[in-house]
């Protein structure tokens, strides 16, 4: 892959050729999806805990409330993550040592704050983006739990990625562009961040060093490519693509090569994350009008 700072035309040509080639490949054979939930409610933002390996996601619990929920895959037990939550909570992520986690809370009218929970001492830190309509968007927490990267709009209509420490101090703007950058995710080592950006003209997948340098474009499709997430070993990225006119789950190598379609479902497949074993992908699929969490093995696709 090529850096966005050099040879854009060559990079573009390379990406186009690669995308065309990948689209000509037959869909790699994946196992049948396994349905994990049955309530059919709207779900999004899937994420695993590192200790108990529970799946945490946000779900529309009532017509007016999105809650974080935990699903134990072994027992099938379902519980509210924050039992007393009485407003919308979305987009959670955990540090590897489970000492911190971060999420987004809807604390006012068209207003969201970033919250970091220190699990050991019980402290809750909150980053308020200011008065009026203001929303912190998607976030990711570094594997060592020291930093959080999140997306936030600028006054010029763009949206940038910002970094802050786990006490929500020392904010630093990682990306500076005229585009919309969103859905950041740290690599397992914490050295790299993958994210979605419109700098190619529509939503595509990019990656950069954790300090914001060396931005690479990984996908180049006229349809939406979004919500990338690294595999546990860092070699793959799973993401959602609308390149065929319907939301499907794809995987690719961490350098953007070897793009493969994982799901093929007439409904919407989205919000994918890797199981900690690196062999399965969990995602939300709309099947027969219901939005449930499915698991699909990608073991045979990891070449």
């Amino acid at each position: 892959m090529n850096s966005s700072n050099s040879g854009p035309s060559h990079r573009h040509a390379f990406l186009v050729v690669m995308t065309v080639l990948s689209s000509l490949l037959p869909m790699a054979k994946a196992a049948e999806p396994v349905r994990l939930t049955t309530d059919g409610r709207m779900k999004q933002d899937l994420c695993f805990t590192y200790d108990t390996q529970e799946l945490i996601y946000s779900v529309l619990k009532t017509p007016q409330l999105i809650k974080l929920q935990r699903l134990n895959l072994e027992s099938g037990n379902l519980q509210d993550f924050h039992t007393s939550a009485n407003t919308n909570e979305i987009y959670i992520d955990f540090a590897k040592d489970m000492k911190h986690y971060a999420y987004i809370r809807n604390d006012g009218n068209l207003h969201t704050v970033l919250q970091v929970q220190d699990v050991e001492n019980g402290e809750l830190h909150s980053l308020n983006p200011g008065g009026g309509f203001a929303c912190v968007r998607a976030l990711t927490i570094s594997p060592d739990g020291q930093n959080i990267v999140y997306s936030f709009p600028e006054t010029n209509g763009s949206q940038q990625l910002w970094q802050t420490d786990n006490r929500l101090q020392n904010k630093k703007e990682l990306t500076k562009s005229d585009f919309i950058d969103a859905y950041p995710r740290y690599s397992p080592t914490g050295n790299v961040i993958t994210f979605t950006s419109t700098r190619s003209g529509n939503f595509d997948i990019f990656r950069m060093s954790a300090d914001g340098t060396g931005i690479f474009q990984l996908t180049d499709n006229p349809g939406i490519d979004t919500r990338p997430s690294f595999s546990p070993d860092g070699s793959k990225i799973v993401y959602t693509s609308l390149r065929q006119g319907n939301y499907e789950i794809f995987i690719m190598n961490a350098d953007g090569s070897n793009q493969k379609q994982v799901t093929k479902n007439p409904g919407k497949d989205d919000f994918a994350c890797w199981h900690p074993d690196g062999k399965r992908i969990l995602y939300v699929a709309e099947v027969k009008g219901k939005r449930d969490i499915y698991s699909i093995s990608v073991e045979d696709m990891r070449d």
Binding site: G40, R41, M42, Q44, P63, Q64, L65, N86, T87, N88, N106, D107, G108, N109, L110, H111, T112, F133, A134, C135, R137, A138, P153, E154, T155, N156, G157, S158, Q159, D178, F179, I180, A182, T198, G201, N202, F203, P222, G223, I224, T226, L242, G245, N246, Y247, K268, D270, E286, K288, G289, K290, R291
Partner: protein
């Protein structure tokens, strides 16, 4: 008090002067003519009235414009008046038995859905790509692929405009064609007008609103949702339908001792009905307000009640609409069409706010526009409304049903300083289908950035006049009801 005049042309027209308001109306309806006869209208002011025909500026279903009336009136002597029989023969019948008014409350972005501007700068066109539709040269964004594949089933208007940039004001404009505010008369909504014109039948009320509540923002409900100055008797009958198709009727909670929250569950329902019958005496019934009476009448009418029972639909069909309150409400709307409820309003949400505590995720995307639209709003709309159109056509209901889908305005073409879009009353879209609407066409056009129409702007009064006219509530009927003296019929639709 109104007075009627009859003029002759190759076709015919009726002119009315409402004495109280000094407004004049015209129409071509057989039904209206009969009503006029019944009401003993006089025709003794013909000559003076003819000179004032220019006051009327509406347009009929048959395309008779104000100018046409003036010319006809000036050219014909009084003796050219047609007989009642001739009038009846030439009259236009109502095109629709039912209007389904689908309200995308909060106002969806027109650029990110049905009126994309791929050649505009990125800070206007946004991040979404466009896809072809079944109409050559017409493209939607990638967020509504199912509706893009169904453009042969509806007409799209891309030149709607309104006159208020706030939700309550634009909401009232969208429901009544009139402004709201302190000291201003609150006009009846389209559904209330239909309700009064048709009168109450047995069982189901004539104006049903399928919504979690009266459309509102976090501050207030809109003024124009119902009967307005006509009173609450003409308010909509509210039915809540959740994502599983479970029905709740809030009006019943107003009745002491009666709380049937879940009438879709038949065992529960029977118990609730027994309880109602035990508790209700003639005295208590008389003491209820009109909505409670309607609710009780509905619950004791088996046929009406069955219309609200979505378990009578096949599982496959219910799945096609999607597990969302909006989807299941559209399915319920189809059943109400079959039950010939004259006006069904399906509201996307109770609240406009897209992401606020204790609200239900409307289309007001001042923030997170480019997150919520692909993640939630557009997929739900695309699936549910496509299923509704398919179902309505499959059952042959579209010939007698007018479907209108729209919000209260559009959203700023230029992306705001929160990477989203604000209110934009200067240009938005509406979707029309059924009742003779010619499908597979785009009416009107916006400029290269989606900021203003480059064709005639279609105002809420035009939307209302067109809906009401299709229901046989022509300008004579509107004059009788003293509503909507203005408004230009959207003749391009037919």
């Amino acid at each position: 008090m109104a007075e009627a005049l009859v003029l002759g042309t190759k076709s015919f027209c009726l002119l009315i002067n409402n004495v109280e308001t000094n407004l004049e109306y015209a129409a071509l309806s057989n039904a209206s003519y009969n009503r006029l006869n019944r009401n003993s209208f006089s025709a003794n002011k013909l000559e003076t009235e003819m000179l004032r025909l220019g006051e009327f500026n509406s347009r009929s279903c048959d395309g008779i414009s104000r100018r046409a009336f003036v010319q006809a009136g000036a050219a014909l002597p009084l003796t050219a008046m047609l007989s009642g029989e001739q009038i009846a023969q030439a009259a236009t019948q109502a095109r629709a038995k039912t209007v389904v008014f689908v309200w995308l409350w909060g106002a969806p972005s027109h650029l990110d859905t049905f009126d994309p501007k791929p050649d505009a700068p990125l800070n206007y066109r946004g991040p979404f790509s466009t896809i072809p539709t079944t109409l050559p040269g017409v493209r939607f964004t990638e967020l509504v692929p199912k509706l893009a594949a169904r453009t042969d089933k509806f007409a799209l208007v891309r030149s709607n405009i309104t006159h208020d940039g706030g939700h309550p004001g634009a909401g009232t404009f969208g429901y009544t064609g009139h402004r709201e505010g302190r000291g201003i008369t609150i006009q009846p909504s389209w559904g209330s007008i239909v309700s009064r014109h048709h009168g109450a039948g047995e069982g189901l009320p004539p104006y049903v609103m399928l919504s979690r509540g009266i459309p509102r923002d976090v501050v207030k409900t809109i003024d124009g949702y119902g009967g307005g100055d006509w009173g609450k008797a003409y308010d909509p009958f509210l039915i809540q339908c959740d994502e599983l198709g479970t029905i709740n009727i809030p009006a019943l909670k107003l009745v002491d001792g009666v709380t049937p929250d879940r009438i879709a569950h038949r065992r529960n329902l029977q118990g609730q009905l027994d309880k109602i019958r035990r508790n209700v005496t003639a005295d208590t019934f008389d003491a209820w307000d009109s909505k409670s009476k309607q609710a009780f009448t509905l619950l004791t009418n088996k046929q009406a009640l069955e219309s609200l029972d979505l378990t009578k639909e096949s599982t496959e069909l219910r799945e096609n609409y999607g597990q969302s309150s909006f989807g299941q409400s559209l399915l319920l709307a189809r059943r109400l069409v079959e039950a010939e409820v004259p006006f069904v309003n399906v509201s996307w949400s109770e609240f406009v706010e897209a992401f606020s505590p204790n609200t239900d995720f409307g289309w007001d995307t001042h923030v997170k526009n480019f997150d919520l639209l692909p993640n939630r709003h557009c997929p739900v709309l695309d699936t549910a409304f496509s299923a509704f159109l398919d179902d309505m056509y499959d059952r042959g209901l579209m010939d007698s049903t007018l479907v209108v889908c729209m919000g209260e305005f559009g959203r700023t073409p230029r992306i705001n300083n929160r990477a989203a879009r604000d209110h934009w009353q200067h240009n938005y879209f509406s979707i029309w289908a059924g009742a003779g609407v010619k499908p597979g066409q785009v009416i009107g056009a916006s400029d290269g950035k989606g900021e203003r129409p480059v064709t005639r702007g279609i105002e809420p009064t035009g939307v209302g006049v067109t809906m009401l006219d299709c229901m046989g509530i022509d300008s004579i009927a509107r004059a009788e009801l003293n509503v909507l003296p203005d408004g230009e019929f959207i003749h391009e639709l037919f």
